[in-house]
Amino acid sequence: MVTTLTPHQRAFRSTVALKALMALTGLILIAFLLMHCFGNLKLLISAEEFNHYAHWLKGEGDAGGMLEPLIPHGWFIWIFRVFMLAAAVLHILAAVVLWRRAYNATPSNYEARKKLAQTYAARTQRLGGVILGALLLWHLLQFTVIPAQMAGQAGEPSSYVIFAFGQWYYVLCYAVFMGLVCLHVRHGFWSAFTTLGVNTSKRAEKVLNVLAYLIAALLFIGFMAMPLAVLGGIVS
């Protein structure tokens, strides 16, 4: 293949640049997860607190929405959704391109194969990502798009949640979902920082790895606390 691109253009299209894009969008998604998790915990205080928070997010509350009056009433949630959607789409697109390149670089599989370093999380990053995407759609459908049709009382987010997590099998599914998220985050977090060039020593590698486990654990505990509280009847 004869390339007519300049080195600069090739660098912009390189796997490393793609990975940097993936890392950045991944970190944005992790930041969102942390915020989301924190918000969920409001239900532990009371249903009213939770509902108030949810309405405020969407700019439906009396106190006005986020960043009002800097941006008009009701706009923030859409800007935010577009932003998150873009992050997710870019993340997935980069993943698909990188996966295709990896696929093309693999002529045939080894007859015998043994891994020395790879963690389970690293190995399942791609497949895990695909499953996560599917579960995410279902999650959004249930709690954002058509919550009222699923169950609960329209306009009262706490009711959808309490209804759903009142079921043990539902909590179980959710736990599996969160497990996958955290696995993905575990490898993704450290991998993102490596890709962004932070991991340039043995020490940095260690710190990043510990941080990655911490964040994953934090997310799992944070996300599971509320459903378990609902299932246990502590919140109603």
Binding site: M1, T3, T4, L5, T6, P7, H8, R10, A11, F12, R13, S14, T15, V16, A17, L18, K19, A20, L98, R101, A102, N104, A105, T106, P107, S108, N109, Y110, E111, A112, R113, K114, K115, L116, A117, Q118, A122, R123, Q125, H187, W190, S191, T194, T195, L196, G197, V198, N199, T200, S201, K202, A204, E205
Partner: protein
Amino acid sequence: MSENLMSLTLRIWRQPNAATAGKISEYKLAGVSSDMSFLEMLDMLNEELTVKGEEPVAFDYDCREGICGMCGIVINGVPHGRGNSAVATTTCQLHMRNFKDGDVITIEPWRATPFPIIKDLVVDRRAFDKIIASGGYISVNTGAAPEAHANAVSKLKADRAFDAATCVGCGACVAACPNHSGMLFVAAKITHLAMLPQGQPERPLRIKTMIGTHDELGFAGCQNAGECAAVCPKEIPLDTIAQLNRDLIASLFNRAGKSTAAE
């Protein structure tokens, strides 16, 4: 000194050439001494095959002291048989005392699209030379060098440069990588030259051209799985890849290589 003899079953990838499909063939080999190196064991098999009039197994080797980077075989699913060795090793420095009587050993070539198989266990690794040719050097013509002490180099940076520069270019990193990325190889050269004052003027352009060539040759991206560093006979650390990433991202904000492809 505590030599013992063993009988082995060897499952070896046989492939006459790039165009013909390969398959695993099984061979029994008796009287293998634990003091032999892995390649001497294959020599022994080849001597037996030759006497029987069969085609010997083709495999690459040269220095047999772990420095030239010519040898490279996937042994029991791990490049250079690292899975059978307690220490980092090239195939030629792996010894049969790491195996035991009755073992079944699977022996395969590097598998990666940019390393096409030539015959049996021999692959074509010229892609690595092309990556170096695209920028893995400091441009200094013979005779144009300043006095060696013109630049002092901090010992820490000189040592880091050295650690990266020990890469032997064997390709085990590519063979072990789940994606078949050549990133550790590129990163070793990037880190080596980036640590030295002499390497600075070309630093932004170097990473652009090397990564561009790496991708163009069909090597894929890094997933930070760490398999490459785990099998590297010279233990090039994984953090060199972070150095590469950092340099590449920084280079995107640099004008080097913007005007022409042939700059």
